[in-house]
């Protein structure tokens, strides 16, 4: 049973990691247009923050709508 709990915790952590990889990929493409220097501008950082939050808003709204249809 301890092994099952451990595996489940690892599985959740892995899902979070994969979501972070996916969001970084999507949001970097949209928010970071220039790589002429190595620092993020404050606009880019704000855009990345908004991007994650708006993507999650969209995801949650869609899940709720689909659940209410069923």
């Amino acid at each position: 049973k301890e092994i099952a709990t451990f595996l489940e915790a690892e599985n959740s952590k892995q899902k979070v990691q994969l979501s972070i990889h996916q969001f970084t990929n999507t949001c970097f493409k949209q928010c970071v247009t220039s790589v002429s220097n190595a620092e993020l501008s404050s606009q880019e950082e704000q855009c990345l923050n908004n991007c994650v939050n708006r993507f999650l808003d969209t995801n949650i709204r869609i899940v709720k709508s689909l659940q209410s249809i069923q």
């Binding site: 704000q46 908004n50 708006r54 993507f55 869609i62």
Partner: protein, 70 residues
């Protein structure tokens, strides 16, 4: 139990694809504003598209199956 796992996999696939498409169509960098009305319409349109595609694909499979193509 396998049937249930497949149903979950299908629902997850649907949610992911609708989220990607409707995020792309409704939200623009710098992502400072949400657009719930657009997401709702986009979801409705995506589900209608899913039905059209589904009918077209199944019609094609049945046709191929009747004519002995597959």
């Amino acid at each position: 139990q396998i049937v249930q796992e497949l149903a979950v996999a299908n629902a997850t696939e649907l949610v992911n694809k609708v989220t990607d498409n409707c995020f792309e169509k409704c939200l623009m960098s710098p992502y400072s504003e949400a657009n719930e009305q657009c997401v709702d319409q986009c979801l409705a349109k995506y589900m209608r598209s899913w039905n059209v595609v589904s009918r077209a694909y199944i019609a094609r499979i049945q046709q191929a199956s009747t004519s002995g193509e597959i």
